[in-house]
Structures are given as C-alpha cells and as structure tokens.
Symmetry: D2
Subunit: 343 residues, 4 copies
C-alpha cells in the first residue's frame, strides 16, 4: 500500500481521482486538501462517494503531504510549481494534472499562462506523462506532467502518421470538441446549462493553451517544426472529447489501418477501430480508453483521424493513475478496468 | 394571396414550413399531403400548431396540387422528380427541399443517391436556391432546388474566399456538426435519444451526399475543380449546424474581416460577426440567419471560418420561403422576421 | 406608439422581453438599464438580437425612465419596490416581473423574501397580472405584479377545480418541474451544465417562495384556506415548466374535460387538450400558451391535471406583454403570435 | 465459477448485464442469444465492450442454455414464460428482467399485459426479487421476478411508512420521472432525440403497467388494499429515475428521518440521505444504489419522499446480479462496487 494525497480535491478532476482511487487495492488515501472547503466531508460535496470515501477536506499542510508516497495536484495552473520543490525534497513523488510542467520552454509557458514560472529548473526533469510515448521514463520519474485532455486525444491520433513521416508537417489541422466538464467546476455565467445546453460553438479560435503543448509533442516525435491549426469547440454534453484530425499524405497507397493497428497493438488503453468505423465518445465514457479510427476519404490524399477519450479519465485522472501505476510498478491497468457506461 | 401546397408534411421540414407559413400574410395553405397520415388533423400530429393550422393531411392529389400557385416538396429524395413534370406543365411553381434537383450532372446524382433520375432534362433548368449566389435567377425560376443544410452553411462560409481566389483549392476542409433533427422524423434505433444523447461522433467519414453538392457550388464559383474534405458529425442537440472551415491562404496579409463584411453587407440573412467572435448555433435557433466569423489563427497562413445556421430554417424551410418570396416578388424577408430563441 | 423602458435587461427575462418587444408594432423601446453592463451594446451581450435591437445598456436613470409610458422591472427581488413609488408619481405604469408586489400580506412577503418591504402601501393597489383571473382589473391598473412561473402553471391548472369547489382543499399536491433558465443568468456552480445536465432532482422540498404565492391565488378563488404541498424539481433542459397536480375529488362522475374546456373556451392563451392527452413542454416553447390536460386515472377519485408553459414566456415576459397589451388597450395577443418552436 | 446465459442481449438491459458481469469474478458468460443478431459479435454492436466481451450472439438454443447454472431473460414481456418451464426442469435457475412473473394474479397480469399467461402455475413459486423485502426467499429461489424500475424506486421509498402503518392508504401519490433508456433500444419515432430532447411530459396518465406491480408490493406490506395514483414522466436524459412520493401522515410528530435510517441501516444498496437533502439521479448513475430522502414540508401532515435509482442498474441489471449473488451465496455486493459516474 502506498499513501496518496490529493491537493485541490473539489474540482471534477479531484472527484474523478477519488472515484477511481477508492477502489485501488494498493492505495491508501491519506489526505485531500482544499483551502475553500477545509472541514467539509468529501461525501457532503460529492454524494456519489457517500459510504465509500470518509475523508474530509483539510488545509494543504506540507507536513502531512510530506508523509505521502505520492501527491496528485488537481489544482489550477500555477499551484503545483510553488509546492513541488519542497515535496520533492522530502522524497514525495508528484503528478501534476495542471499545466505547470507540460511545456519544456519556460518562455513559452510564461507566454501562454501569463505568469512567471516558479521552478523552471524542474522542467527538464519533469516527464510528460503520456505512457504511449514515455512509458519507460515514467517508471523512474519523480515528477510527472500529466498531459492535457485535448493534447492526449490529438497526440495519440496523429502519432503513427508523424512517427512514420507520412504527412506534410505544415498542414496539420485538429478540429476538436469537448464536453463542458473540461471547463471545470467553478461558478461562471458562460458554463451555465442555459448558456451552453442545446448549442454548439468554437472558442479560443485565435489561440488556445493546448496548441503549444500539442505542437511540442508532435515536433518532438517528428524531430522538426510543424504548423498545427487547433480549433476547440464546446459540446452540449458533460464528458468526452472527439478530435477529428486532418493531414496531407505525402504518398498515396499507404495502409493506414495497418499502421495504426500495429503501432497500438500492445497498448492497453488505445483501441484502433475497424476501417470505416466512427467511434463515439460514449464508448469511452468513464473508462480510460482512447478509441481511434483512420481513413482517407474519397482517395483525395487527406488522412482523417478520429480520436475519442473521456476528458476526465484518459484526459486527466485515469491517465494520472496509469502513470502512478507505472511509477510504483503496479499492474498498469490496476483500478482502471471500468468499462464505459453506455448508454 | 397565393395558394400553396406541401407534399410530405409529416417530417420536421414540413412542420417548419407550416410554422412559418401560418404567419405569412400573402399565403393561403391549400393542401398538405401525406400518404401515411391522410385524414389526420395536422394539429393532432403537431400540437404546437393547435388553433393555428386547421388543415388535415390528404393523399397527394395531382388535381388539387395543380390548383396551387406553388408546391413545396418536403419529401424523401426521389419523390419530387416523379411529380415535378406534370405539375410544371400545369403552371405550378415548385420548390424541392430534397436533393432531386441539386446536382447538375445526373450521373453524379445517380452515383450518390443510388437510383436513376426520373427527369434529367429538368436539371439544367432547375435553379439552385441559394439567394446569396442566385438571387436573380430565383426570381424568374419555375423550379427551385432548395440547398441542403450542410451545403448552405459551408458554401456561405467559403464563398468570399473562393470568389476572390484567395485559397488553395486542393486543400479545403469542412468539419461540420449538425443537430439530430437533420436526420428527420422517422423511426430508427440510431437516432434514439439513448443512442445519441450525451455523446458525439463523426459519421459518413468515407463519403457523404452533401460533399458533391458543396463541391459543385464551390467549383462553379471558382471556375475550376477543387478537392474538398467534408466530415459531418452528429451533435447531442436538436437544431443547429456549425461548420468550421479550413483553407490555405495564398498570400498573407489579406483583410479577411473586410472581405466578408463587404461581401455580405447587403444580404438580409447573413451576419458577419466581429473579428474574434465565435458564433453559437443558438444565436440562430428558429431564425433564418447565417452567422459567420473568419480569422487566421496564429498567423499560420490558414483561414478558419465558422458558419452557423438553423438546419431547419436557413438550412431548409426558411430558405425555401425566402426563395418563394423572391419568386412571387414579395418582400424577401416576409414571414422570416423571427428572432432566434435564446436561451 | 408607447415608450417602454426595461430595468435590468441582462437576464433571461430581460432578453425575452427584448425578443418579443422588438417586433411589437405599438412599442418603442426607449431605455434598457443595467448597472453592471452600462455602455455595452445589447446585441454584444445577446447576439440573437444583432441587427434588430440597437440600444445599449445604460445606468438606471429616473429621469429617462420617467419619460416612459411603461417600465418593466426584470430585476432581482427587492429592486422594483424601491423605484416604484417615484415612477408611479410621474405617471409611469409599471409591470414588475419579480416578486415585490405578488403577496398581499407584507409579513408573509418579509418571511419568505427575508427583507422588509419598501412600500407596503402599494400592495393593495397592485394587480396580480394573471389575465385569466384579473383581466378587467389589469386593464385599468397602474402597477402589475407579474406572476411567478410556477404559480402561473399551477394556478391555471387548479383554477377550474377550485372555482367549482370540487376538491378537498386540504389535500392539494403540485409536483412541478422546471428547465434551468428559471434559475436566471448569474454565475453559480449549482447551475453549471456539468452539474445539472443529464440529471434530475427535487429542490426546496422544505419550502419554496412560490408556495405562498400559489396558496394565495388558490385561497382567493376558493374563499377559504387550504393546504398545498408544492415540490419543485429541476429538469436537464433550458425552457419549460410542467406541473402535475393532484386533488381529491369530492364527488364522482363530474365531467372534468367539459369543465376545463368551458372555463378556458375564450382564453386566447390557454389550450385545453383532448381527454387522455399529455402535453409536452416543447409544444409551448417560445410561445405564450399554457396547455392543460385533465383526467381521473383508474377512477380512483383523484383528479390529475397537467399544465405546461414556457417559463420565460407565459411564465414571465410573454405574460408581461399580455398585461401591457391589456393596460394600453392593444389587441391582447399583439406580438405574442409566435408558434412554439418544435422540434 | 458459475456458467451464465443471457437471453435477449441486444437491449440496454442486456448490455448492462454484460458490462457488470464482464468483471464478476465468479461468473463465466457462456451464451448470449438474439434471434435478430445471431452471428454478430457482441462488441460490434456495443463498442464499449470491445476487448472485454468476445462472445457473439447466437440463436436461443435450449440445449446450450440448459447447461447454464443461471439464465437471465432480458427479453420483451411474454418471452421468459414460454421458455421457463423447460429450463427449470433442467435445473437451471432463472432471473426474468421482464414482467412475466411479477404479478401474482394471472388475471391482473393478463389485463395489463394483454396476453394469456403461459405458465400461471409458476407465479406462486416465483420470488419477487427485491432483496430489501425478500432477501431470504431469494437465496433459495429457482425463479426470480426481477422488479420493474419504477416499482423498485417507489416501493423502497414508501416501504418504511407502510410497514409502520403511518399513512392513509387511500391517498398515495407517486409522481415518477424516468430517463429515456427505460423505453428500451428499439426503433420508434416517439423516442427520437428530436422528439424527447429538451422537452418533458407525463405519459400513460390513464394507467401504466407498473401501477398494479407497485400496488401489489405495497398492499402485501400493508396487509390491506390501498389506492395508489401513479403518474410516470419522461425526462430528457438517458439514465435515472426519480420518484417523488406523497402520503398523508396519520399522526404528527413521528421522526421520519430516524424511521428511514433505522429501516435501511444494514442495507448495502439503500442510502438514506440527511434530513433536507435532495438526492439527484446522477449520484447513482451507473451504480446499484438507491438514495432516499424524507421530509414533511411546512408541517402540513404530508410526508414527501424522494427516491432515486439508475433504472438500468438498481432498476434492472444491477438488481438482477444482486439477486444472483444471493442465489449462489456470493458476497451480495460482488461486481456491484462501481461508484456513480459524476459528473
């Protein structure tokens, strides 16, 4: 058994960590913190955890967190980087579900997140927690930058094409759609059901923080720069991301289906669908799977990839637990065996 | 007052024609037909029309339809082409809301719709009813091919770019999303709320019937062939289409905002949003507007256009009435003044 | 033409007043106020009004409002009562869409709304704006208390039974369900789509402010006290209220269908459905109708009434305009002719 | 390990059995049948089961089913009663998730289900599978009538009040709301998302098949007849039932909270919420819990009970597995430990 703490447990990512960890046979939850809700029983905020999680929120206490083997940060951007150095010094391993350690270049980080980085010296050490690319590094990491939800779906979707150098790197398009839980659990007019229900729109068309993260992932695979057009959209539903990706194929006749199937054959959480399939987000709702389909419509030289995940699971808490399992040499799929809830 | 008939009034397009025509001051509804529901009062099927539409469905009767000044076909594909020649001979004007007269080449039509065309000799005469391109031809037409819902949103979105020859015609991408009313009002498992609610997916990725229609529209504007990748998606909501369009700009520095504003300045139903805006589908729900925004994200040489319509109004019944208004020299906006229902 | 002002125009009720008044042929909108958004163009907040409403929000200015013939208050509870006396003194007629003038007894008001009443002397004069009960008084009123959304649906549903004294007044149950727009347009965690989408619950079971309002309505019809159990619920949708009402019938064999049809025969906005019907909320979406059905299931001596309205139209802005039409001797249905948007 | 078969596996109840049984450590799935889909891989119909369920649908074969230890019927009403006698003769235990064995009186069954009963001699033996009432009988049963979804929610809600004889049995009202998955997975216009999304209505107001089932449950607890008014409604969401129950209290001052807490203290799947709580359906989504709250609003002598379940889990497949666990002396909660998926 390892002792695990969660900093910032009142959001959807925190709640999802609790849902999954409550059934993890090798984990003892020893602390969950929230400045705003300290003293409140977790199950009073999240009734689905009644009878299963009997912790109460506490103030974030470095002493108590320092006794954990692992601490998850389910906090807003900019929080983990302030607490990370002290916890690492105490020998605690860290998984940050926010963006603090995702971008390797602190200047790029500061440009997009609009604040100075508190510990740029850790950026090189931090391992980007996408097991399908960095599994071995994750096993021995102290500090994991858990990927963003959009970057998980888009990177896994483009990965085989870029690894093989099959597409024009100057013409990558990611048209991505997310359920509203991606916006988090905080009061706002813009995310009221009366505002976003029964409607659909793009947002952040001029530039979104996940664009440089995805571009960094793809460029490191490709070994060169590229141009990615990334347009996120907001779906009138709660969970799920679908990414439709477009790339210009360099040469005709490549067996895309075989490429994808081979690349992901041994991945426990990436499922390549049959040719012609259209994965729906509900097929991964509540589960840690990414389902992918690839095709070249009408033989026009454009590869179209569809990639779906649950933004709170493979896009956040599930992937974090997958990383934890790797870091502590547990079975990689432990506590992640839930099948999707369909319908 | 003109006498108007509707063939096939039990679907959503028929219901929407009724909703709008019920308040049209120059129209008398004289017949609405349905083989399956003949004898039933319209208001028994559509309770929102109670007290406002007192017709009953009748069998399609050429005699009675022949007395109309105008007949709308809100029928499945393949119906209007069988009845059109006889009605035209009697001097009735026709607007087909299905696909029978949309494609100019009968071979292309037969390929995508999988049946022989019953009156290919009418294809040349039929006017494609998109007033923003063919307003003058519509005024004097006998036979209108009312555009498809996706083609309306996509064509209006790409139009200014293609008219000016600003983009690479081999690299047009249309990632388009529709509410479920686009699938029509017919029994199916795939459109049950338990199947499509709270979920999202692409469909028809390998090829969709609206692709050749859009390609035809764009090619006729451009004067040359092009390659369009068109991927439709299904939204967990009822009304609305959003098209996000991607095109490679030939030269940098063009004022896209000014281009769009100028092109649509005098159009009563196309609203170009301010730079940076993201139109949502609810802003046109129930109305005949198309709202468009254009931008070039991160200065990467890719134009991104967003275009939203209500698929049942500007994408079907509303546009049909706009065409009717033009054909009969009524005010173009008559009975189409409804503002969108928001929230 | 009359000059109309709206105080508090940034909520859903204000937006709905604008949508309906923009097409009212006898109304000139002369002012719309908002402290928080003064200076902002209305159409920048509500894009569905682009091109149709060109006002900007202004600070509430008694001088400018004093020049209006009528002012609507679409404000939080407690605002109208502070401004009403001065405006009435200037000869302005007032319709308050909040609760300030709905309860006749200031002590009851203060108990439920938790603040002292600023002008209890006006409570006797204020006319409760439910035309189906108070049409004549409304015609000559200076000050209208526009009914709450739940009270409109429940009162119209129970009305014929209580007028005829057919039911046990100690055993009235109203199980009522509302879409989320009833909670208004203000930042909150509880009304996020991720909180209220795809879920359903009761709320305020211990007591809700609309209970005394409904009880007052029913008691005044009945001429005696009664006991009403009122339980509101929150629906995962935007617009619409459905009330299912239960009452113990005093004597068997009464023709309930005939009772309701007769009572509402001349009402322009109350539609009694055929026996056995189940009105759905979409059949009134965007329209000013209340649709009602009544039955006695299994002959068990319990009358069950279903009553549906659009909470923002007949439950708020539409009813307010109906009242305005009566106060200014316009056609009662003017600008309220919209049919429901279905699907 | 026991060998389990499922007859009729293409509906939502069948899919949910598969989702839950796939992770049951004591069960081997040996057959799943469907006449319509024989030959199709289960995972081709239900992609969320890809990689986890590798069975294909087969024709219902008595020989193969006869080798099972237990067979679940997830079939339409009227199917199980035809196959049950032969399978029981072979020593197979049966759990019918349809209605064939729920009503004790074959005449009542025939009245409501409109067909003769094929094996009325089994009705006395069949045990009604609500563990909270019949746990001991279930342990030794050969044939279980798995309760309906509405009857589960309503019976558990009323149970403590009736066991104690606290309420007027002539005045029981159940106003119940269900998500659309309750209508099953079959083609229909009425359950299209465009028909039932963003709308709400009652249905079956004149009489619903679950009324006699609930009445039978309550009468057997009470030991006398009663009058239950039961009105079901259709929610614009997929999973979940909420029942709001109304009953006239015989004597004031009873501690309802204590009554419920005591009654359900040892029940693993019934959670009595704190006084004043309003359980939402999402708090049980995907889980086998029933959450209940009870109150007496405004001290008016009417008890109001709220009861929520997931109609596909505690209302169908989960409860069936709970029954199976009891019948085979497994831990009662085995494979039912999933926490609800929230948000």
């Amino acid at each position: 058994m390892i002792r695990v703490g969660i900093v910032g447990g009142t959001g959807y990512t925190g709640a999802e960590l609790l849902r999954l960890l409550a059934r993890h046979p090798r984990v003892t939850l020893s602390a969950i913190t929230s400045r705003g809700e300290a003293g409140l029983a977790v199950a009073d905020l999240f009734p689905h955890l009644r009878g299963r999680v009997d912790l109460a929120f506490t103030e974030p206490d470095p002493g108590r967190l320092g006794e954990c083997d692992l601490v998850f940060f389910a906090t807003p951007n900019g929080t983990a980087m302030k607490m990370a150095p002290a916890l690492l010094d105490r020998g605690v391993k860290l998984i940050d579900l926010a963006a603090d350690f995702r971008l390797k270049d602190p200047k790029v980080w500061e440009h997009w997140y609009d604040m100075p980085h508190a510990c740029p010296e850790l950026l090189a050490e931090a391992v980007y927690g996408l097991p399908e690319i960095h599994r071995e590094a994750i096993r021995s990491a102290r500090l994991i930058a858990n990927p963003g939800c959009y970057p998980t779906a888009v990177t896994l979707g483009f990965l085989p094409l870029l690894e093989q150098g099959l597409v024009d790197p100057d013409w990558l398009v990611a048209d991505v759609k997310s359920g509203v839980s991606g916006a988090g659990r905080k009061a706002s007019v813009g995310m009221l059901m009366a505002e976003v229900g029964e409607s659909f729109k793009a947002y952040g068309v001029g530039g979104h923080r996940h664009q440089p993260e995805i571009a960094q992932n793809l460029a490191s695979v490709l070994g060169t720069d590229l141009r990615l057009t990334f347009v996120p959209h907001l779906l009138p539903m709660i969970r799920g991301i679908e990414a439709t990706l477009y790339a210009r194929l360099g040469e005709p006749g490549y067996d895309l289906q075989d490429l994808y199937r081979t690349r992901y054959h041994d991945e426990p959480f990436v499922d390549v669908m049959p040719a012609g399939a259209c994965p729906d987000t509900r097929s991964v709702r509540g589960s840690n799977y990414c389902r992918i389909a690839v095709t070249e419509p009408l033989g026009q030289g454009i590869a179209v990839v569809q990639s779906v995940i649950d933004n709170l699971v493979k896009g956040a808490a599930g992937q974090a637990i997958q990383n934890m399992n790797l870091m502590f040499a547990f079975e990689e799929t432990l506590a992640l065996e839930d099948l999707a809830l369909l319908p």
